[in-house]
């Protein structure tokens, strides 16, 4: 196989990746799109192996081990744990990139270490290492491992800046002194690994959708940089597609929280000024029972369900499906209002509801449901808090001021299913819980929904 032939096949592979991603723009074509993508990967791997001169035994063992581990993960993982899995895979991709750049550095002759090659190697190492360690910390946080939870220490920004400057400095030294490139590369990767840990370890759970999107983007950029190291077009194209995808998702998530990326990465939620204390806000909270909710539901024509991370924690998606079907059989129109940052990754709620066989055309975006909120007889908030907090609209001093929310407070009745009145990620009380048209249904999300459905069927 000549270089030209190889590059022609790579071109076909790149086109297949693009067509595959295009398939993901609609649920009907998405399965096919993903299959295109995986075929493209297979073709790329096979033609690369045809180049020859490799240690095939080592490669075969590596492919086998990796394939088995990957398949086991993919088949065993629960849908509620998708964010963790994506974080983990992201990390592996990042690690592979900095390992490839390192191995390429080792096997290059002096003549091959041009400025361009060294710059690409440095970028690949830096981005890849940050992606790897950052993703592992994100995985730990999502898995709720204790040692990455609520870590705090002082001068966080100073340390991060120091590490960034140090890593970049070693990268520059690689280019300036190619004869010591290997040593500088190792030092740079070590600093970058530390940087990745520190960048992510302070970020709270509700900001995870932003972090995962960003790391996703980085894993693509690292692959792209590795492509520049090897002068390999298919790595460059595929990596940049992923980089673009991650950046778009990051932006969507930031807009949905009305926060800038720097604020998510480096800032905390600013303390609210003179907002009311929880005791004042919650003076007139009314609680209710599943039976009462069922009675109210009997006279409803339109019901809106707003799920949040609490639904994932309680694994309540199947119970919600049963309630939806029961209501539908009574001629009630049921819809779902999905906030972009509900859950721990973009589209988290949609996947869980799809798992429970809830048709995707019932899932609607925040601004769609907001325009019809006055016609909703009952809004059921299931394990969501900040994304339905009316303070975002009314209190300009609130830490969530200006964040787009789902205006469930404008529905005729609101039922909030929640374990307690504890605040969400923003740490502020939610006046929705005490609103005249709102009632609290305390308890486990799944249990509560099951009981409502039962009461409806018996009633």
């Amino acid at each position: 196989m000549t270089e030209t032939q190889l590059n022609i096949v790579y071109m076909v592979v790149a086109v297949l990746f693009i067509v595959g991603l295009k398939g993901l723009t609609h649920p009907k074509t998405a399965v096919r799109g993903n299959i295109f993508g995986s075929f493209a990967m297979l073709i790329a791997v096979v033609v690369t192996l045809l180049v020859g001169g490799m240690n095939y035994w080592l490669i075969a063992v590596g492919l086998l081990i990796g394939g088995i581990i990957g398949a086991i993960f993919a088949v065993k993982i629960q849908m509620t744990a998708m964010p963790q899995l994506v974080a983990l895979f992201n990390g592996f991709g990042g690690a592979a990139s900095f390992l490839v750049a390192g191995a390429s550095l080792l096997t290059s002759t002096k003549a091959e270490l041009t400025v361009a090659n060294l710059v690409a190697t440095a970028l690949s190492g830096l981005i890849g290492a940050v992606t790897f360690s950052g993703s592992l910390v994100a995985f730990g946080k999502l898995q709720e491992l204790k040692f990455v939870k609520d870590v705090r220490f002082n001068n966080q920004q100073l340390i991060n800046s120091g590490l960034s400057v140090g890593a970049v400095l070693f990268g520059v030294l690689m280019v300036l002194m190619p004869e010591y490139a290997g040593l500088f590369y190792i030092l740079m990767v070590l600093l970058s690994l530390a940087l990745g840990v520190l960048l992510v370890i302070f970020i709270g759970g509700a900001d995870m959708p932003v972090v995962i999107s960003l790391l996703n983007s980085y894993s693509g950029l690292a692959a792209s940089a590795a492509g520049f190291v090897l002068g390999n077009t298919v790595l460059i194209v595929a990596g940049s597609l992923v980089g673009a995808s991650g950046i778009i998702l990051t932006r969507i998530m930031c807009v949905a929280m009305n926060r800038s990326l720097t604020n998510v990465l480096f800032g905390k939620m600013q303390a609210s000024g003179e907002s009311a204390s929880a005791d004042e806000v919650y003076a007139n909270v009314k609680s209710t029972s599943p039976e009462e909710v069922a009675m109210l539901l009997e006279v409803c024509e339109r019901v809106l369900i707003v799920p949040g991370y609490g639904m994932a924690v309680a694994q309540a998606q199947h119970a919600i499906r049963d309630l939806t079907n029961e209501l539908k059989s009574r001629g009630v129109k049921v819809e779902f209002g999905i906030h972009p940052v509900a859950g721990r990754m973009p589209g988290h709620m949609n996947v869980l509801l799809a798992e429970a066989d809830i048709p995707y055309d019932l899932l609607r975006e925040a601004d769609e449901v907001n325009s019809e909120m006055e016609q909703i007889d009952m809004a059921i908030v299931l394990g969501a808090n900040d994304v339905v907090n009316p303070l975002a609209r009314t209190d300009p001093n609130s830490p969530i001021a200006g964040m787009p929310i789902i205006d469930v407070d404008k529905a005729k009745t609101v039922i909030v299913i929640k374990r307690s009145l504890s605040p969400g990620f923003a740490g502020i009380p939610n006046p929705l819980f005490a609103a005249d048209n709102a009632q609290m249904l305390y308890g486990d999300g799944k249990q509560a929904v099951v009981e409502i459905t039962k009461a409806l069927q018996e009633g």
């Binding site: 390992l99 191995a103 096997t107 894993s219 998702l249 996947v351």
Partner: protein, 121 residues
């Protein structure tokens, strides 16, 4: 062997297979071409992915994640015969990790998308 790391240039030579400049030295012209490809691909990516509906954002993320496993191709290229044990070990680890990324990513995306496909409103 570790001296390779620090004084790599003179001791290590690359056995490039056939007429393939696998990790050759791209000329300034070639680098400009590669940068052009990179930028165009970024734009294509922006155009396509902006159109992905929020419902499919998680599959998009895991699917594009799988595509970033393309580093596997790079990993295969660095597991060359004749390169030192250290380079081969790095390459081997990269093959394992990138394969997990790619195989796991595409499979789990498929699993998710199947759940979306079987629904009709």
């Amino acid at each position: 062997m570790l001296t390779q790391l620090f004084l790599l240039a003179d001791e290590v030579t690359v056995n490039l297979p056939g007429d393939l400049a696998v990790s050759g030295q791209p000329s300034a012209y070639e680098i400009t071409l590669l940068l052009t490809i990179f930028l165009l691909a970024v734009f294509v990516g922006f155009e396509i992915i902006t159109k992905v509906p929020p419902t499919l954002h998680t599959p998009l993320m895991s699917g594009s994640n799988a595509i970033s496993g393309i580093t596997l191709v790079g990993a295969l290229l660095v597991v060359e015969m004749g390169s030192g044990w250290f380079a081969q070990t790095l390459g081997f680890l990269a093959v394992v990790l990138a394969t997990i990324n790619a195989v796991g990513g595409f499979l789990v995306t498929h699993r998710m998308l199947e759940m979306f496909r079987k629904k009709k409103g």
